[in-house]
Amino acid sequence: MSLLEVEDLAVHFGGVKAVDGVSFSVEEGEVFSIIGPNGAGKSTIFNLISRFYKATRGTIKFDGQDITALSAHDIGQLGIARTFQNIELFDHSTVLDNLMMGRHTHRNTNWVQDMLFLPSVRREERGHRKQVEEVIEFLELEAYREKLIAGLPYGVRKVVEIGRALAMGPKMILLDEPASGLSVEESQEVAFWVEDMRRDMGMTVLMVEHDMKLVTQVSDRVLAVANGQPLAMGSPAEVQSDPQVKAAYLGTEVDA
């Protein structure tokens, strides 16, 4: 049984079929990328999986459980974390605070205990902090711990976004254009992190990307979509050489 199973997923906004009949499955520990031209519905698929949009048709199953109708905040509890294309960090908090917010799905105290700050709350806080420190170490964010997000450069913010998703301790992470706006070096670091996530943390990674170099370097399988419909699915090499994909997205060779 695959970790994620998407069957005939579709969402219509009025007359616009943003996603129309997409099916794929992601195995545990796999790195699966979705590519396609802008407006193809890639982020929409993410939004459907993380339940920010309601699907018009189709089912999504995670770890055997049907999640098509769950609320957005329940998705986190199940072990799915995501990043956003336009960074949605908490601007007025520090990096550390942002990452600590990622531990919410693991909280074991209610508000009454919190208000009295019982010893159990303190123990929990220490535990959360330890987990967050591991993420900070993994992403090399030590220098930025106490800095407010509002003053940080774009590249660092993108990393914090990934860090916050990692802090959730998820089974599957959805990366929405993790390399967009990053320099060549920074994109390479993203590639290393994705590989480390898969190898050391056993995490399943679902990624939307335009950077074909990154996609080919880390992905096990790739799905190409255009106009909300699937074009091709397979290994990076297969998809890259698919004529339909070339026509819609990658570009064909010019006859000399």
Binding site: A72, G76, F84, H104, E125, M168
Partner: protein
């Protein structure tokens, strides 16, 4: 320059960063506790009033400053707290029970209001709370048997285990009572903000979308914030009722709501200390104005006792703060403290605000 050397996570988890900070708070509490022996009755009453306003301000601060929900009619919850407490005491319930009940009543009412309110955002919420305030005011007038209607209601003296805490006959005791209540609530509030609950409030304030993705139930978090905020304000309201001893709905007018907003905004939105700074300002400014007015009268014969002058001066102070110091008094205090801590190496423009552009709030 102050450097804090952290050796364990507890340094960050604790409320106070080091022994010095803890000492300062202990000193403050000691000074506050000894105040009745030092200061005359008039000023002690003023300080008590300030404490009560600080409590109310903290209630609004939780909602507006930390959870990002507007409330223009918070005086309604002051009223609910005051009337519940007085009404219960009038039928014989001892204060030790009626006081928490008043807070719970206000809190429950707040949670009920939250049910529709959390689905609204921004300006809709603000106006809805305003509407709610008007409705509560009218209901108070209509529910005459409980609330005394337009005539008003009498809040009986507080008697705990035989010790008299009445505000007029034993101001010292009443003051200490308020001090203890405020200290406890502040401690609870601070605990809340350093825990996962508090973080979820901040998350909902800063990015609802992210909060959802992080597994935070936005609706429930907002409702909790509403409930706690209204409960705190309700407690303040019941203390206010005892402070005035005899009150009617006019004590809780729209201007009180606006004063509360002033307290949290001028004090510093988003900081617990802001509620205190704002409360001090709200109490101090009318005093200062009347002193100035008297000196002007006696020295230069100019009579400035026009109606609305107080509110005008408040408004001008408010406008000045919003334009030049949006982080309020507490924000300004932080900057001053930073200047002293870094002396003489404070950099110019260290807190310079970047020019920001606003995106539409209609696309959320």
């Amino acid at each position: 320059m102050k450097v804090i050397f952290k050796t364990s996570y507890d340094n960050d988890i604790d409320l106070h960063e080091d022994g010095w900070a803890r000492g300062k708070i202990a000193l403050l509490l000691a000074v506050m506790a000894l105040l009745p022996f030092v200061v005359g009755e008039y000023y002690l009453a003023e300080v008590t009033n300030t404490l009560i306003w600080a409590l109310a301000g903290m209630g609004l601060m939780l909602l507006v400053g930390h959870t990002g929900q507007a409330s223009l009619g918070h005086a309604a919850f002051l009223a609910i707290g005051a009337y519940t407490d007085a009404a219960l005491m009038n039928i014989g319930v001892p204060w030790l029970i009626s006081f928490p009940l008043a807070g719970i009543a206000a809190g429950v009412f707040g949670a009920i209001v939250a049910i529709p309110a959390v689905r609204m955002s921004g300006i809709y919420l603000a106006i809805a709370t305003l509407a709610l305030f008007v409705i509560v005011e009218e209901v108070i007038i209509i529910a005459e048997p409980i609330t005394g209607g337009v005539g008003g209601i009498f809040a009986p003296s507080i008697d705990i285990f035989g010790i008299d805490f009445d505000r007029y006959s034993n101001l010292d005791n009443f003051y200490w009572l308020c001090l203890v209540v405020v200290a406890l609530v502040t401690w609870g509030y601070a605990n809340l903000m350093r825990s996962p609950t508090g973080r979820s409030f901040l998350a909902v304030r800063d990015s609802e979308v992210s909060a959802r993705a992080l597994g935070i139930n936005v609706t429930r978090t907002r409702s909790l914030a509403f409930g706690l905020s209204c409960a705190m304000t309700g407690l303040a309201g019941s203390l206010m009722g005892h402070y005035i001893a005899f009150f009617n709905y006019e004590l809780f007018s729209i201007f009180i709501s606006i004063n509360l907003l002033l307290v949290v905004t001028i004090g510093g939105l988003g900081f617990i200390q802001g509620a205190f700074f704002g409360a001090i300002l709200i109490s101090a400014v009318p005093q200062v104005i009347s002193i100035l007015r008297d000196t002007l009268k006696s020295s230069a014969g100019i009579d400035l006792s026009m109606p609305g002058l107080d509110t005008l001066i408040f408004s001008i102070i408010l406008v000045t703060f919003i334009i030049y110091e949006p982080n309020g008094l507490y924000g300004r205090w932080l900057k001053i403290r930073a200047w002293f801590q870094l002396f003489p190496l404070a950099r110019r423009d260290m807190f310079r605000r970047q020019k920001t552009y606003v995106k539409t709030e209609r696309m959320k």
